[in-house]
Symmetry: C2
């Protein structure tokens, strides 16, 4: 699950993913993807020991904290309120997100109010936030590039 | 992974998910969700033995076949071409989607051209297709309803 969260972050234009626990397999997956599809210098993983300190320093530097939760306010109502010129920290988690996250976040945003998954919630949020531009993401150092095709697989390898 | 595809389908307004293999744990997950969050009569799983026959009969009844693949044409270019008044069959799969799917599909659509996941691809596609209305999904027979909250969890149990 978490490796899919990482892949979505990378594919949809984030610069970094912070993780509260070390997971070698996720670093490995991302390194493999970065090697083939590019992004080595554009997307990275950072391990954070103290997530509360991260939130506090993010706020201090005028960043915005968004927590995705189905208990929050529907994104259809909230999106216009987010200042997209500021840097945004998106928090996603499984069911066990600590209570404090709800109060520390600037926005608790629901990607609908039905259970689905943090992968899908993050994907929709990033897509909405970028107004679709996330899906044009390309990395300069890619060894594989897809040539969009109507009915097959077409790639350019460099 | 597949149970997340099922949850996304249910949460974002699909009526049915067709599966090419039987998986008791997915039926169980969905039944549990439907019992608490509603949707028993609005969302179902159907096992299909012959997926090609399904595609052919879907086409015969004037349905549209959309295959989500990063090798396809970017959704930013394709979305306006899809006739949303027709019923739509969305095909997602892991890396091993048979070649024939590419030729049988009316549209091979890329939710970006970077690797992420079928869960995120499906989520973004459904969100785009419904123009955000998917995220207002609610089920009549729900026992639990979320009261959207700015900073906590607020539910109504009936």
């Amino acid at each position: 699950m978490t490796s899919h969260v990482a892949l979505v972050s990378r594919a949809l234009g984030c610069q970094k993913i912070y993780m509260t626990y070390l997971d070698e397999s996720i670093s490995k997956t991302l390194n493999d993807i970065n090697k083939r599809w590019g992004g080595k210098d554009q997307f990275e993983i950072e391990y954070v020991d103290d997530w509360k300190a991260l939130i506090r320093s993010w706020k201090k530097s005028r960043g915005v904290i968004v927590h995705l939760t189905m208990y929050g306010i529907n994104i259809n109502d909230m999106l216009p309120q987010i200042d997209i010129k500021r840097k945004i920290l998106v928090i996603v988690g499984a069911s066990k997100v600590p209570r404090e996250v709800y109060s520390m976040a600037d926005y608790n945003i629901a990607i609908g109010h039905q259970p689905h998954s943090e992968v899908s919630a993050l994907a929709i949020f990033l897509d909405r936030l970028s107004n679709g531009m996330d899906l044009m993401t390309n990395f300069k150092d890619a060894k594989i590039n897809i040539i969009p095709s109507k009915d097959g697989k077409n790639i350019r390898i460099t």
